[in-house]
């Protein structure tokens, strides 16, 4: 490491935090869904992909599809609307599919969402270019780079980190500090008693899946201007995000966020020291953590 100057390390940490913010945002959604519904949501990557496609479709295709001239979703509208659409799709999935297997072992939820991910990926691969399409709707205000002293950092990426951090804080606040959050937590802890108190547990479950899916959709919209929007963009990410959630402790919100950021940074450093390992280091950490603390870093022992 001695031949790598401090400046380079700082830049890589910064880039790592940027990736970590995406991991955090995605694993947060996964953790919420698992924590509340006990579903290992393999379709999370597909929901993220849908978010990115939502932004792309809103910008490039909506006008042609609907035939309404001038109907385009700018980035800001997409940032607002697309997560809602993806969230609504999540509610449908929960109501039509996941609810039917809610009483079974969590393994079935994993298998079901795995199949769902395949369907979504396949549909988008057939409808759009498999190699990915560019999203050209980055707002003017976020163009350009900022001088951080040790590097030039794209303004948009700083914005994406801000969105991620704010969303994480907001979700944490909703779940830990609001009445709704308390109901959610109670609903998972003991559905029977909770519903005896007159709380609509099925609606809470829908809401949870809505929240998780919307977070994935949000991450997708934010990612669209950075990466090519392609049907396989989620599949490449989902396995890593899984590892993040497992390392953090399944269902732990704080764990998901912290681990996401930390692994992003770690990955960034590995990209300097031994780049080919970058995609695998997460799994080494995961294996080690599960040996040492089976419930993950922030999880409660079962």
């Amino acid at each position: 490491m001695s031949d790598i100057p401090l400046q380079a390390v700082l830049s890589q940490v910064m880039l790592g935090l940027n990736n970590g913010a995406f991991y955090a945002l995605l694993s947060l959604g996964l953790a919420v869904i698992y924590g509340m519904l006990e579903v290992v949501n393999f379709a999370h990557g597909a929901l993220y992909m849908m978010g990115a496609f939502g932004a792309l479709i809103g910008l490039e295709y909506l006008e042609a599809w609907t035939g309404i001239p001038g109907l385009r979703l700018t980035f800001w509208w997409a940032l607002l609307l697309v997560p809602l659409v993806v969230g609504a799709f999540g509610v449908l999935v929960e109501a039509l599919l996941l609810r039917r297997i809610a009483r079974l072992e969590p393994i079935y939820g994993l298998l079901l969402t795995f199949g769902l991910a395949l369907i979504l990926e396949g549909v988008f691969a057939n409808g759009f270019s498999a190699a990915g399409e560019p999203y050209n709707g980055k707002p003017e205000a976020l163009e350009g780079v900022v001088n951080l002293g040790f590097m030039f950092f794209p303004r948009y990426r700083l914005f994406s980190m801000l969105v991620a951090v704010l969303s994480c804080v907001a979700v944490w606040w909703v779940i830990e500090r609001t009445r709704l959050g308390a109901q959610l937590r109670a609903g998972t802890e003991n559905p029977a008693v909770t519903s005896a108190f007159g709380i609509n547990v099925p609606r809470l479950r829908s809401l949870t899946y809505f929240l998780g899916a919307a977070l994935a959709g949000l991450a997708g919209v934010v990612a669209a201007p950075i990466y090519s929007v392609g049907p396989h963009m989620g599949a490449e990410l989902i396995i890593v995000v899984f590892a993040v959630v497992v390392i953090g402790g399944m269902g732990s919100i704080l764990g998901a966020v912290m681990t996401g950021l930390a692994l992003g940074v770690l990955e960034g450093l590995v990209k300097v020291v031994y780049p080919p390992m970058a995609n695998t280091v997460v799994f080494v950490i995961m294996a080690l953590v599960l040996l040492w603390r089976p419930a993950g870093l922030f999880g409660r022992e079962a």
Partner: protein
């Protein structure tokens, strides 16, 4: 418990017998059958994929649909970029469907495997999609042709042109897999042989979505050129992110297709120089083919599509001239006859299977220069075939007597 599980055995047998009775006899047709084996749903679907099937069908139609008095038929399949799927499909085509020639073969791993199988089964394989030079070197085959391009020729064209401009220090971003290594190796050798310097190479996992870390490393190396030894989605993401980080160095894509430029958009890609075997903007002939293809496929052809058309035509001409579908005779005819069409002028197939034809150094137009959505490239220089490709003497093909 145990015997219960096995009760299914007699049923299985009965089903099999029933199916056997219903299965028609497998008789191979006598005409010429051409197979297009390609990636129809993955990363390379845009540059090869269904467009290659269309190109092959166009060639068959233009030829008249018949050769030696028998119909020409076309079969196609998706190999999903997996060599095991590709080789199983090709084997079945050869064994049961009487396929005489397989074309496209995008993805080096699939191409190498199927070319090997073709050599074993004595069937002709024409590679248009895959670029690995291994196909005409260690893995070369008497029944295999590599038609549209290879990593050597595209790396050489681009590297030479940039070095001439004084861009003599390079840093490579290389996809960490065999194809990326071949591309980087070829380019690095050419850069050093022309007096340039390679300041460093970073191997990134394949596929990757975030290249910022590698780009920042490349930036701080101080190299004048960042060479991208990757393809498809990796390439487009890397270019986009280089622009995003405001990287001022020259970005050199070593393997770029028209479809990639389309994916990037001219705004991002403008000014980029690369080497290709075909693009429709070159001359009236290439444009005519491009427009005919567009009418059928609603996208302009890539060099792979053009190569599939041209090579299928060449194959059919050779069958006609040899007056037989015997692969040895057809191969001999194909080697002996030069190709003169929109794709190649005086193109020839060498002993190692390399199809030698002119390559083109092109530059991506600025949005202002572009007159239509597909008007993307302008020609900078034509690289004559004998300079574009690796000389036979330097090759490692065992079929070439030295």
């Amino acid at each position: 418990m145990k015997h219960l599980n096995f009760r299914i055995a007699p049923v299985a047998l009965a089903v099999l017998i029933a199916c056997a009775a219903a299965t028609p006899a497998q008789a191979g047709p006598n005409g010429i059958r051409i197979g297009v084996l390609t990636d129809m749903s993955g990363t390379y679907a845009a540059l090869a994929g269904n467009g290659s099937v269309v190109a092959a069908q166009m060639a068959i139609d233009d030829f008249g649909g018949k050769v030696l008095g028998k119909p020409i038929t076309l079969v196609s399949a998706d190999h999903q970029n997996k060599p095991d799927i590709g080789v199983a499909k090709a084997r079945e085509w050869f064994d049961t469907q009487g396929v005489d020639m397989v074309n496209d073969l995008v993805t080096s791993s699939v191409a190498i495997a199927v070319q090997k199988l073709g050599a074993e089964k004595h069937r002709i394989t024409i590679v248009n999609g895959a670029g690995s030079t291994a196909l005409t070197n260690k893995e070369c085959s008497a029944y295999g042709v590599q038609y549209a391009y290879d990593t050597y020729s595209i790396a050489k064209g681009t590297a030479t042109a940039l070095l001439k401009q004084g861009l003599d220090s390079w840093f490579f971003l290389q996809a960490d897999y065999a194809f990326g290594a071949a591309l980087q190796g070829d380019a690095a050798r050419i850069v050093t042989s022309l007096g340039g310097k390679v300041l460093g190479t970073v191997k990134h996992p394949f596929p990757s979505s975030d290249f910022s870390s590698y780009l920042v490393q490349a930036q701080s190396s101080g190299a004048k050129v960042i060479g991208l030894a990757n393809a498809g989605g990796d390439f487009t993401n890397a270019v986009k992110q280089a622009r995003e980080f405001g990287i001022k160095q020259t970005i050199a894509g070593l393997l770029v297709f028209d479809s990639d430029i389309k994916a990037l958009g001219l705004q991002t890609a403008q000014g980029m120089k690369f080497t290709t075997g075909y693009t429709w903007e070159l001359n009236p002939e290439t444009e005519a083919f491009g427009k005919r293809f567009f009418a059928r496929f609603h996208a302009m052809p890539t060099m792979v599509h053009a190569g599939v058309y041209s090579s299928t035509m060449h194959y059919l001409e050779a069958v006609k001239a040899a007056n037989t579908d015997n692969p040895e005779a057809v191969m001999k005819k194909m080697r002996d006859t030069p190709v003169n069409d929109f794709f190649a002028k005086g193109g020839r197939i060498r002993e190692d299977g390399r199809f030698v034809h002119d390559m083109y150094l092109v530059e991506v137009k600025t949005p202002a220069e572009s007159k239509s959505t597909w008007d993307q490239l302008k020609l900078l220089a034509t690289i004559p075939g004998d300079q574009a490709y690796q000389p036979l003497a330097e090759g490692q093909c065992p079929l070439v007597r030295k």
